[in-house]
Symmetry: C2
Subunit: 153 residues, 2 copies
């Protein structure tokens, strides 16, 4: 993801206005290795700006998603997660603490080998491939507390 400064420029260059609320959200996302939910971003931003509303956080996250600066991923955790990592990657999801890890995996052009029920998926054009590895992170597997990143609600 771009730095907060670069994001500010990108916002301005698109005719969007730069507000303190948005800057606070940029800061919260900057260098954040977790995959925060909107609620989680809201909590982080409220520390410095208690008056901000959850509505504004959703709006700004959606704006960033529209601009392609972050991506919205649904990992089946009940809420959408926002991912500042724009490199091609997939996800490890810990079923213990709901922490999400990025992971780089090469999947070699899977489509030619697809076995699709006749008449159903043939002719399907694949735009993107999401791979989600579910399991337990080392800490949870060891019965310890989740990593320092903690559960991202």
């Amino acid at each position: 993801m771009k730095s907060p400064t670069e994001l500010s420029e990108a916002f301005r260059s698109q005719g969007r206005k730069l507000t303190p609320q948005r800057q606070a959200i940029f800061d919260a996302l900057d260098g954040n290795p977790s995959h925060p939910s909107a609620e989680s971003v809201y909590d982080m931003v409220r520390v410095h700006m208690p008056s901000i509303s959850l509505r504004t956080v959703y709006q700004t996250l959606n704006d960033l998603t529209e601009m392609g600066e972050i991506s919205q991923v649904d990992l089946g955790l009940g809420s959408a997660r926002f991912d500042p990592n724009n490199e091609p990657h997939h996800h490890l999801v810990c079923s213990g603490c709901a922490t999400v890890f990025d992971v780089a995996v090469e999947v070699d052009s899977p489509l030619p080998d697809l076995e699709v029920p006749a008449g159903l998926g043939d002719g399907f054009v694949v735009d993107s491939t999401d791979i989600i590895f579910r399991g337990m992170c080392a800490r949870c597997a060891a019965g310890q507390q989740p990593t320092d990143l903690g559960p991202v609600p």
Copy 2:
């Protein structure tokens, strides 16, 4: 998935009661190649049993999931989908009509090649791998109406 008759037996053998509502739900799922949502199953069942409640459909689908007869998948479509296909498989999701197709894909032991940020996901034990191919089905890509299966809401 088992046939409605086999499911009835399975229910009885587990001490669960067999009600007309449940049988109607078994029938709706039997041989259903789509990946219906609870609401969609509800609609199908209501054709023959208008008095059934959505609550009962959820309850029965969850019972079947608990019994391992069907599986619940979250494909980021806003609602859970129930998948009678118990064979190992992955999913094609059409972003046009939200139709879900089953697909058999071999992914060769991906973990050894994982590149996980140091200190984060190392030691992660993978239980299951979900692969979701997103794109357009042939009909939607051609700008036509969705397949006969129709949009599964």
